[in-house]
Amino acid sequence: MLELKNICKSYPIHHGKSERLILDHVNFRIERGEKWGILGRNGVGKSTLIRIISGSDLPQSGSVTSDMSISWPLAFGGAFQGSLTGRDNVKLISRIYGVDFHRTLELVEDFAELGAYLNEPVKSYSSGMSARLAFAISMSVEFDCFLIDEGMSVGDHRFHRKCDIELFEKRGDRAMIIVAHQVDLIRAHCDHAAVLDKGHLIICDSVDDAIRMYEG
């Protein structure tokens, strides 16, 4: 279970003279194994919501409770260090989470197909390459609940297919929260959905309802 209760979050604007409310008393609950899609237009606060769930940001009020381990946003390149090589990033993550480095490195080499680039700084990677590295590293730590940002949409067809197999087939029993402004990923993989609009999170009865509401 992961539960968000009355989450409020605002950001200062006009040099701190006023505030813009991004999340207005957001309530959300996800059980083990559930796949949730959250739809929202650009700038509506999807990433803010993800940051609060992942724990990197704190809400101004409200609480986050969880008895599941939660991943960092998948394919999110920002959690890596540009000046480090792919290999050093793998090392950092294995150390932080206490997983075996050599096993992880093998997995990443095999999945990300970066070849010799693994020993080059991440900042020299193409966006497709960094997405592959980020995703591969994410798969090396096991979580109960995966956070998926739309970043997954970069990369070619082959990469998408591999991600689908790793994430939705091999790890189909885990909980997932997919946040996107496009409906495809959510239509394909989710069994619950909500729409984020004007600071409110509206929980819908079905994924189709949510898509209709979002596109309407």
Partner: protein, 265 residues
């Protein structure tokens, strides 16, 4: 506010934190020094070059008092300055810059600060110790008059520097103004650092005011261990410990506020 995954014990928490801090230290070492050229050796080489440079310049400018050379004085004094001065430079805005790391649940904001402080302090201390041994061999420095007192004094300097650096880290996260003027604060601290103005050089009626700055007491304590009877030193051990303790508590309180703010805004 965020309930812990699976309510883990304090000991487990401590183990995780140790692992995370170590991971961050190693990461920082590679990002800062790289693998090319001198690489990791820079950890010692950089502060060592600083100390030697200062020793060379000042010993040309001043002639020492009877019985002690300027070079010797700086070799054992200047490194104390590196701790709080360079340390502060490394921690300002460290959390904000590395905020993306907080997406990883095991990483707590203070771990980022700890890792930088530990790396910076180890670097300065390692540089001091290696240079000191070399200087003793060359005859520029002597063996400590009272090793135990010198070690305790050194620990006091480290303790004060830790609280100071933590406070500056918190203030810099809280206010851009403080971050901008931090090098001015650092510069204006120099007269009260115990390095450029030793307590015995100050007229007696002002000495106790100077010793209100705990850093001066710490450095004097350190000097007392090194010089023994070769130099007049003044410090209040109880005051030093109590002041450092109070300063540390203050630093932690401020850090908690700062971290909460960085994560909230």
């Amino acid at each position: 506010m965020i309930a812990n995954d699976r309510g883990i014990s304090f000991l487990e928490q401590f183990r995780i934190q140790k692992r995370v801090i170590w991971a961050l230290i190693l990461r920082e070492m590679i990002t800062r020094y790289g693998r090319e050229g001198l690489g990791i050796i820079w950890i010692i080489a950089e502060p060592a070059m600083f100390i030697i440079g200062v020793m060379v310049i000042f010993s040309q400018l001043h002639s020492g008092e009877a019985g002690q050379s300027v070079a010797e004085y700086l070799a054992v004094s200047y490194p104390t300055l590196l701790l709080w001065r360079n340390g502060t430079g490394r921690v300002t805005k460290a959390v904000e810059v590395n905020k993306a790391l907080l997406h990883h649940r095991p990483v707590r904001p203070i771990d980022i600060i700890y890792s930088r402080i530990i790396l910076e302090f180890s670097s300065s201390i390692a540089a001091f110790l290696s240079l000191y041994l070399i200087f003793v061999t060359l005859g520029i420095c002597q063996l400590p008059a009272d090793l135990f007192t010198m070690i305790i004094g050194g620990l006091m300097v480290i303790w004060f520097s830790f609280a100071f650096v933590l406070t500056m880290a918190a203030l810099a996260e809280l206010s851009d103004t403080v971050e901008r003027v931090s090098h001015i604060i650092l510069y204006l601290m120099l007269p009260f650092s115990g390095v450029f103005l030793a307590a015995h050089l100050v007229p007696q009626e002002y000495r106790d005011y100077l010793l209100l700055f705990p850093l001066v007491d710490c450095v004097e304590w350190f000097h007392a261990g090194y010089y023994g009877s070769r130099m007049e030193t003044y410090y209040y051990p109880y005051y030093t410990v109590v002041a450092n303790l109070a300063f540390t508590l203050f630093a932690y309180a401020l850090t908690n506020i700062a971290i909460k703010r960085v994560q909230t805004i």
